[in-house]
Amino acid sequence: MAKIDDEPCCGAPAGPPSSHIERPGYQLWHFVEDLVETPVGPVPKVSTNLVMSDQMGAIRVRLGYKRNDYKVAPGLYCVGSPGPEDPVFVTANYKLSFDALRRELTGISGWILVLDTRGINVWCAAGKKTFSTEEVCRQVKATQLDKIIKHRELILPQLGAPGVSAFDVRKACRFKVIWGPVQANDIPEFIRAGKKAEPHMRRPTFTLADRLVLVPVELSLILSRTTVLVLFGIMLLSGIGTEIFSISAAWQRGLMAIAALFSGVIAGAVLTPALLPWIPGKQFALKGIILGLMAGYATIFLHKGNISTLEIAAMVLSAVAISSYAAMNFTGATPYTSPSGVEKEMRRFMPVQALAVLGAIIAWVAAPFI
């Protein structure tokens, strides 16, 4: 029998032994560097560097793929070499939020208290009340934070304020809430300034880059299984004609119709977010109509061959309807639209969108007979 020591099996020699911070039954996150001993037990210390897998994960959720399953375990973490006097930063357990925070804590020693927001970002979770007064106090108690730190301050992201009442937190668990900046990248400056946020740190931004990063998710919401059924239905409608049903017409006219719909999706879900401040009007549905008209006409110009007036009308109307609807849906992703305003424009424009769809279908089906 071969000896294990001097005669390894085929292939490379054995890798390094298990790390001292591994525990049976748990998988170790790559960002956990060490375990820091505290009076109530070990607390994982996290790296402030994002690695390839963090970036790939961010891209994955930005594309809308398994966006609801990107979480870290709630509880207490730490960065640097924290002591009992160091600050506590509170965040959501959406990994994108957690990563944004730890990246900005480079060179800072402190504690990170992660709330169980069901994997949802701070602002949305505050709106849904999972980033809440109760959850802050629950995690403070569960982690026995008062035995680890000497002060009684928690730094919360300002956008958590719709869900957390600073006064109620003080009453319920005797911790003072300090409202930190809206964006994690202002944290170093906020800390340097003695935990004071400049007015610009209190406002969300909505730059071109901020808007473009939202586009893939908008598209993924539109492109669903229902879309495939709709496209199939359009092919069927397109085949109806003087010969009762023609497969070649279904294909050719079907593709034309789909091109018009596609142009509406691009206009409403890509161009409207991108060009938002430059499109006239305040109402998103109206902005969508303007770009939908342009996109619908552009599709017709690109089309070679004969096309009747009714078909033009159908294509433009359908592009307008889809673009307007998609643009209206983008309100949910902006940091400045009020629900009352969204409801107002929905009441005004959804009948218009429905009429445009109806008009498009009638014109499209009638076109071969005229």
Binding site: P162, S338, V342
Partner: protein
């Protein structure tokens, strides 16, 4: 952010100056600079139309001087409210 202004005159935000103690918390938590609180004075609404009804001010007002109907400015959620009512409405699994 100043380039973005949504529909005027729709926000449900109301401030009752009577109970206000001028603590300034509304102005701290508001993401759009809707409030102004001078030192030793009561809060005033200086930009009502910038209100997005997130509810941060009302949640954090210690004397309940602010009222707003908070909500999600999301079309698919509002459609759900219309169809199923406020209780059963949900943005769906793919929302924020």
């Amino acid at each position: 952010m100043d380039t973005f202004r949504y529909l005027p005159g729709v926000a449900t935000l109301k401030l009752d100056p009577e109970p206000c103690i001028g603590c300034g918390m509304c102005s701290t938590v508001c993401p759009h600079g809707v409030f102004e609180v001078e030192k030793g004075e009561k809060a005033t609404i200086i930009a009502h139309d910038l209100c997005m009804e997130c509810g941060a001010c009302a949640t954090n007002c210690p004397v309940k001087a602010i009222s707003v109907t908070p909500g999600v400015g999301c079309a698919s959620y509002i459609i759900q409210v219309w169809l199923k009512g406020k209780e059963a409405a949900d943005c769906g699994p793919d929302c924020c």
